[in-house]
Symmetry: C2
Subunit: 188 residues, 2 copies
DNA sequence: CAGACCATGTAAAACGTTACATGATTCG
DNA sequence: CGAATCATGTAACGTTTTACATGGTCTG
């Protein structure tokens, strides 16, 4: 079985108990560094995972907002993850509209591409800041070296570091590409 | 219309005339930096693109190997790309099995994950070298600054730069993550 | 002549995306 | 009470992946 959405969901649920809605937030914030999914996919996958006994749900009654069901990974779920981690990875998988545009930019009006590059640069820089805060929160009082040596749950920290470096490079590249294109097409 | 595979194919075909088979090679080598696709997708997309008049094909008779059909982008195809580039981009889209494994690694046997990280680090380093050669070939005698100011077709150069930096960061991160996990689990 | 590479597809199954649908609760 | 946020889905449609299929040419 390939289906890695389920493994991404299982991996995210190791963090604690989450509802579908909370998971969707997480997939927007941090999990999106390595797995993109829309909320509808998550609800559907949670249903399947529970049916297959890889996660278990628990109803939470809330008074200040609608009730919800939160899920945690079962032993069978850990087993599924272990089997997944032991198998060879598929090639990585990037699909980036913006790069398609840049690839073609020589034959096109550069102005809208430049605008999008600059927007993206700003968004990426903002994400770097978000990740920095997330990383600081995860390592608490420890410095990075110590945390990585002695902390528990370094997995999420490591993936967050990768996300940070990705967004950092993204910001730098978008800025550079926009500058190059501006220089070449002084119009506008 | 979303469907960006078609735009990725169009963008790749701006480079010159390619057959489905050659395009598949290209999608493995350089286009994979921004768009992942398997050959069967490309053959199907080429058929659709030709039917829609966005590309045109030409039969090439070869004596040393089987005949083939090569394609180039038509004016209508350029128009389609222009419309695509003027529309806002979708959020970027990453799906990386290896990061899912690392996210979950604290609850799992780290050994196979470490092995895959090290493999991936080596593969990424090799890709950096490949990109360096590709970049050198694209800019010819010019240095990078000059090429980006005056060269024609900087689009592919820019996307290649992004690919290079991605693989560079990838190699560095994989190496670091593997080292961290090795330190924590001295077993094996 | 076997194995590698060139070259191109079809069909079925799996997966992902979009649009639609519903309803609770809080805040201003 | 309207807008925002919380909360959870279904159904239809499109796209992607996998398995299967075929055959030419070259190299050792």
């Amino acid at each position: 079985m390939r289906v890695s959405l389920r493994h991404a969901v299982l991996a995210a649920l190791l963090d604690g108990e989450y509802s579908g809605y909370q998971l969707a937030k997480l997939f927007d914030l941090s999990v999106c560094n390595f797995w993109y999914a829309v909320p509808q996919q998550l609800y559907a996958e949670l249903t399947r995972l529970e049916r297959d006994g890889l996660i278990a749900g628990r109803r939470v009654i809330q008074h200040d907002r609608p009730n919800k069901r939160v899920f945690h990974v079962t032993d069978a779920g850990i087993g599924e993850l272990a089997a997944f981690a032991a198998a060879p990875t598929k090639p990585s998988f990037i699909r980036e509209d913006l790069l398609v545009m840049v690839q073609a930019v020589d034959e096109l009006d550069a102005a809208p591409v430049i605008a999008q590059l600059e927007e993206r640069a700003a968004a990426a820089a903002a994400k770097v800041d978000t990740f920095d805060r997330l990383l600081a929160r995860m390592r608490g009082d420890l410095d990075e070296e110590t945390f990585l040596r002695e902390g528990d749950r370094v997995g999420p920290y490591l993936t967050c570091l990768r996300g940070r470096s990705f967004e950092q490079e993204n910001a730098a590249w978008c800025t550079r590409a926009a500058a190059v294109l501006r220089t070449r097409a002084p119009s506008r």
